[in-house]
């Protein structure tokens, strides 16, 4: 076999098999790492007291109250995902990474972010009230 084929063709075939083999393995590998367990909407229970026109900051959102309304604005910056902080004096949310700004309703006030913030549904139960915020 050595004499007839020499080493080149054998090496070439082996390499081709290896190459095709690794390509075939790549598919299950990609499927494997891209698998996500479907995320359930996370419901966060907040039982601090929220003053009229006040706010409560949690890790993922800030709960605001104004008039009769209570709403939760996401703290995830739509630019690159840093966690926004609330500037009380200026009543706006600002990102510590590139200083994008958003209103307390989540509207974009200043870039580099280009999209507005997510606003999450809030349910209020009992008295003193407990707020249930659904993070989608």
């Amino acid at each position: 076999m050595k004499a007839i084929n020499g080493r080149q063709p054998a090496g070439f075939t082996r390499r081709t098999v290896l190459f095709i083999g690794s390509l075939l393995l790549l598919y299950p590998f990609i499927r494997f790492i891209n698998h996500r367990v479907p995320r359930k909407p996370k419901i966060v229970e907040v039982n601090g007291t929220l003053k009229a026109n006040g706010y409560l900051a949690k890790d993922d959102f800030i709960l605001f109250s104004g008039g009769d309304d209570i709403w939760a604005v996401s703290r995830t910056c739509t630019h690159l995902g840093c966690r926004l902080n609330y500037k009380e004096k200026e009543t706006l949310l600002e990102c510590p990474c590139h200083q994008s700004r958003f209103s307390t309703r989540g509207e974009l006030l200043r870039g580099p972010a280009k999209k507005e913030l997510a606003v999450f549904p809030v349910e209020q139960k009992g008295s003193p009230p407990i707020y249930y915020v659904t993070i989608l």
Partner: protein, 283 residues
Amino acid sequence: MIIGQKIKDLLRDTRWGDWCLITLYLSLVSGIIVGIHYDPAEPFYSTSAIDILVPYGRYFRSLHFYSSQFFFLSAILHYYGVFTKADSYPAKPYSALILTLPVALVLLFTGYVLRSDSTGFSAGMIAEHILEAIPLVGPTLNNLLFSISDHGLNRVYLHHVFSFDLLFLLLAWEHLRRYKVTFSRHLLFLGSVLFFSLLVAAPIDPEELGVFYITGPWFFLGLQELLRYLPPFLAGIVFPASLIIALIFLRRQNRSFRPILVFVFIWLGGYALLSVLALVAHH
């Protein structure tokens, strides 16, 4: 003039390679020690606990932090110091050694992310968004490497303690096999690193609400600034990759040596400028 020459000589004559090896070993060993009390499910809490509660925890975390930083710095100086001697290196092993630099940087970077204070958390989020911005393969790469939003720090932890180190060792293996370091010849340096870590604690941001300006790890500053102006793929992938590619081809026997050298200098100068801008312009 004379001082400039002296600094040049010092940079060239110090045995940075030995220092690299010493700090590499220190970083690996202290990393294993810190890992004993680190919990990726409670990253910030466990890091703070190492600092505050665990006996000598603050010392070992500091040793891990600074030995890794010193490693990276001496690796750069080592590169500079032996640059003219490396002409004889064949292209493949030379490129592998250049690639150890970004891998080491990623190791440093994931270290920041793992401590999960406000700097680390933001750095992680930004990295995730940069990866996702890569056309076609971005989301898969993010799922492989970071995926912090969906899976917490699990993957970052896995790669920090295992895969990136393995990759680093693979790339540097031939080189590491060739050179040995005798610790007893560098007692002063070794002692200084151990002592320095005793004196200076590794940084961690306290948990507070009103943080409006995060400056990120020092080597990330310029990039963070650039992300303000350019889309994440350009700023976070194309721009840094251009330097690495330039360094791979920056060989004196290469006909385009001069233009590449100019490019590298402009890149580094630009990066330094961006980093300064990040520090002073937005407060």
